[in-house]
Amino acid sequence: MNILSLFVIVPVLTVIGIMFTRNMKQTRVVAAAGMGIQVLLTGILMYLYFGERAAGNLAEMVLVKDIVWYESLNIRYTVGVDGIAVAMIALTSIIIITGIFTSWEVEYLSREFFISLIILSTGVYGFFISLDIFTMFLFYEVAVIPMYLLIGIWGSGRKEYSAMKLTLMLMGGSALLMVGLLGIYYNSAPDGGPLTMNIMEISKIHIPVNVQLFLFPFTFIGFGVLGALFPFHTWSPDGHASAPTAVSMLHAGVLMKLGGYGVFRIALFLLPDAAQSLGGIFIVLTAISVVYGAFGAIVQKDLKYINAYSSVSHCGLVLFGLLMMNKTAMNGAILQMISHGIMTALFFALIGMIYGRTHTRMINEMGGLMKVIPFLSVAYVIGGLASLGLPGLSGFVAEMTIFVGAFEHPDMFHRVATIIAVSAIVITAVYILRVVGILLLGPIKNKDFEGMKDAKWFERLSVSALILAIAAIGIAPFWLSEMIGFSLDPIVSRLLAAL
């Protein structure tokens, strides 16, 4: 059995297992066990991956497995990973397990909750391992749909509205994407011969430039909606504000990364000529995203809104880095995906935990939490510092790689765009410190808060795991950056050839 398929099979088995459980306690144990196996598998996968590379396997994708499942359209279940996919899978594993621990005490329909959550993760895993655009798209939809139920049923506030908005906007993105993907498929054999959906095969042929120019906006915007590209980002604040904690974590942490990953794996890899000629327009949009999201976050009052806008800014930076289309900046963009994923998951986990204690998310109604819940507050400060790019934490590594890479461009346009994006680091500091100052520091505002309990064991576990991941990337980025960099070579050479 190919280890990659296990990443999809184990969640499915877990879901089946959960169906047989009787109460919340059993359910969460089964869920945690299943996702624990995923973490273990991730470890094995990394070992296998590095083993392959150490053994001198220089293929772009390793651990490839290919099964035809719909012959007449040549749709295949093709899986395989490179360093980037391995990194994304690791990110997913970290976040899903911490997400499960964060929702340790979901009591309302807990079985259904965990089932939806795990189906979502199945989609995400499937997306990252797929090499066939149809299978990839299928898993993409599998990841997006449970979101509707998760927000609509277990959410808070205007949950129906938000769930509907989020799902519809993402579906709209999917519709564009479908056009792009089918366009790629029907142009996958310009010299006649059988059409193919296999990414690696399509990457070897050259789709006519005028076709690429037509398909690129569809593909880029299609994935860009999920990556919170300005002006298609408005699902993010409402969706995140209404979603339950674990869903916000998973959504901002992993699902938004599907957008970036898709842009990278499909839009840039398969349509390099169009990427080179249309990149400029989208660079403007992403640079706007970066600054705009940061400014938007400054005046928000709801913790989740602040974080959602900050996600817009950070994810904008991901797309920005990718569009710079050189190895350093793209490396930074992938690092930023991972870094932002963990960081934002940490934030949402903490916001959920704070909300569970104070029953409000309005920063003006809170204050001085550092005194009452020191563990959570310190974790929040660490998350904030990572978010504003403190060296030694993951955000710094990612941002600096993007900036240095982006600045390598000899032309003025890219460098001015970079300077605009760089200026966001100050704005980020402003909104992070504003929140920290109002929320955690100062005197305790509400007498009711004085009796609050600090984190429980499962909360400590998930928060510590996330902080550890942030610090590990921040302190020793070398191996991760090398792993990603190696896998970037084929796409970068393709993009350069298109120049």
Partner: protein, 639 residues
């Protein structure tokens, strides 16, 4: 010679930080303090070792060598650009090692007494360790990016320490202000680094500063506003340095930073972190001197302006820590002037040497002043001058050491401040007369405001104390005495034998034409202070009334804070952020909602057609059938 062990100098504080940070709340406070202090003590010993070892090395061609003690690639950007982590040893880094570890160690010891019984004692020590780690990492950086990283880390440890009393809103506001202002400056620094690395293709100090190196030749063509890329990048880099060193107009955070515990002010906001900007310029000095003289000119003028500006404000303040903060700013202005008026190589590099010399002496006497102030505050429980007076009787050791520090800063011959300040003035005299006169005037002002402080606190009228002030414990007075000792004697080190812009020793001598007037100016300042403040009188009020317009401006710090407040609140918050948030909700989001609304209303419009009433369907069905039949019949007949 092997310098690998120097890695330990920053790493030991890192470990104590991690240990204390994780163990905070689980170990006894005193034990935590001792662990932190011990860690720093080891670093201090190692630093002293390094100083002796390094300066006793064989010189090559009469110049000190630059040694990479340790190096590893930390993050690869591209083939050329990579961040390294390492230890760079050359005269100024060794000098800074000595300064940082000495002051830090003494502050650690001092805090054992000063912070005793405070909640968060262990947290305090872990933050101090974090700061020491970051500062040492900054000092030892082998490349500009490593420096930037540690630069940010000192920024954050400064943030944490200013906001140490996190339940006090003013402390929180001050810490935020410090972080954001320096962050804004760091933006300039980062852009400078990006420009610099883009031109030269390297971050490495060795390559950047090599006078014969390739890096020096790049980016010399005019680019923007007639200045070369190199000049621009160095101006941006200096912006970072100016922010961290509280140079005008990025100085506003420093006085507020005095909200932090006093030992922190001594360590971070007087002796070490704030001189990082000076150190940064000194580090890149060959580049400034050889490829961007305009940048150096800017450094000189910014330094001169800041020192004058701060000295004027210092004469009007009543909070003793704020007076010291403005004095710090003014003295750093001196150092910047020293660098700015310096040339490269030989005796031309006098300013460079003087600036480093002043950095060292200033670290000692300013730390002494702050720790002395801390001792006073510890005894009186107040920061404000009006609630003090006549303290010389109660606190003899503090009094004597404080007096020594005041005499040193006033530039009285024989004490260390005299030598270093004199050499800066000499360098300025030979380079730029206007700056020389400004600095001369500032010297007088310095003597005046320091002795104003001294007389107000230790002489003058005794206010009513709630409980009699008493001398501080030994843990606090021993560091005071040690620093007083250093303040007196450190000036006798022949600095030019060790530190120079081109690593080659040169001769210096005191020039009477500069030394005599400067001493006179200092004495005049002291005399005025003696007349006005030795005894309680209404003279100061009358004087300030005489200059009331000017006094009011100076007292309100020339309203710079208000300008900043206007920019941040009125402009960033109300004119940018709020409209953007509004725009997002009411334009972009509304568009998206509008699309949904159109869909829904279209659906509403056609919904009645599917009423669910079978009879309606039946009627439509029947009509349809009949119409179709008629049409078919008509067609049949027509055919």
């Amino acid at each position: 010679m092997n310098f690998t062990y120097t890695v330990l100098i920053p790493l030991i504080p890192l470990f104590t930080f991690l240990f204390l940070g994780l163990a905070s709340g689980r170990i006894k406070p005193q034990l935590g303090g001792l662990i932190g202090t011990t860690g720093l003590f080891i670093s201090w010993i190692l630093s002293l070792m390094t100083v002796f070892k390094y300066f006793s090395l064989e010189k090559v061609d009469g110049a000190y060598q630059q040694i990479i003690g340790y190096n590893m690639v930390w993050l690869n950007f591209s083939d050329k650009l990579h961040i390294d982590m390492g230890v760079f040893i050359d005269p100024i880094s060794v000098m800074m090692l000595f300064v940082v570890t000495t002051v830090s160690f003494l502050v650690h010891v001092y805090s054992l007494g000063y912070m005793k019984g405070e909640t968060g004692f262990v947290r305090f020590y872990s933050f101090l360790s974090l700061f020491s780690f970051s500062m040492l990492g900054l000092v030892l950086a082998t490349n500009i990016f490593q420096m930037y990283m540690f630069w940010e880390l000192v920024g954050v440890s400064s943030f944490l320490l200013i906001g140490f009393y996190y339940q006090k809103p003013s402390a929180v506001a001050a810490s935020k202000k410090a972080f954001i202002v320096t962050r804004f400056a760091d933006l300039g620094f980062l852009i400078g680094i990006l420009l610099l690395s883009f031109n030269t293709g390297t971050f490495d100090f060795l390559e950047l500063t090599n006078p014969q190196g390739a890096a020096m030749q790049t980016g010399s063509g005019a680019w923007l506003l007639g200045l070369s890329t190199m000049t621009w990048s160095l101006i941006f880099v200096f912006m970072g340095g100016a922010g961290k060193s509280a140079m005008f107009p990025l100085h506003i955070w420093l006085p507020d930073a005095m909200e932090g515990p006093t030992p922190v002010s001594a360590l971070i906001h007087a002796a070490t972190m704030v001189v990082a900007g000076v150190y940064l310029v000194a580090r890149l000095f060959p580049v400034y001197a050889l490829s961007a003289p305009v940048g150096l000119e800017i450094v000189a003028w910014v330094g001169a302006t800041s020192s004058l500006f701060a000295a004027i404000i210092a004469t009007t303040q009543f909070d003793i820590k704020r007076v010291l903060a403005y004095s710090t700013m003014s003295q750093i202005g001196y150092m910047m002037v020293g660098l700015g008026v310096s040339g490269y190589g030989g005796h031309d590099g006098l300013g460079y040497m003087a600036s480093m010399f002043h950095l060292t002496t200033h670290a000692m006497f300013k730390a002494l002043l702050f720790l002395g102030a801390g001792s006073i505050i510890h005894a009186v429980h107040s920061n404000v001058m009006n609630e003090m007076g006549g303290l010389r009787k109660y606190m003899p050791i503090t009094h004597i050491t404080f007096l020594i520090a005041c005499l040193t800063i006033a530039g009285i011959p024989g004490l260390s401040g005299f030598f270093s300040k004199d050499e800066i003035l000499a360098a300025a005299y030979h380079h730029n007369k206007a700056i020389f006169f400004i600095q001369m005037f500032v010297a007088g002002l310095t003597a005046f405001y320091m002795f104003r402080l001294y007389f107000r606190v230790f002489w003058n009228k005794e206010p009513h104390y709630h409980h009699t002030p008493h001398e501080s414990p030994l843990t606090m007075t021993i560091p005071l005495m040690m620093l007083a000792f250093a303040s007196i004697f450190i000036g006798y080190i022949p600095f030019s034998d060790y530190i120079s812009s081109d690593f080659k020793p040169f001769e210096t001598h005191i020039e009477g034409i500069i030394a005599i007037p400067s001493v006179l100016v200092g004495l005049i300042g002291i005399a005025i202070a003696w007349v006005m403040y030795k005894k309680d009188s209404d003279l100061p009020d009358r004087v300030s009334h005489g200059f009331r317009f000017f006094h009011r401006w100076a007292f309100n710090k020339f309203y710079i804070d208000e300008v900043y407040l206007f920019i941040t609140h009125k402009f960033v918050f109300n004119r940018i952020s709020t409209p953007i948030a509004w725009f997002d909700r009411h334009v972009i989001d509304a568009t998206m909602d509008g699309i949904g609304w159109i869909t829904v209303s279209t659906s509403r419009l056609i919904k009645p057609l599917q009423s669910g009433q079978l009879q309606k369907y039946g009627f439509v069905f029947l009509s349809g059938v009949i119409i179709m039949a008629l049409v078919l019949l008509y067609a049949a007949f027509a055919a």
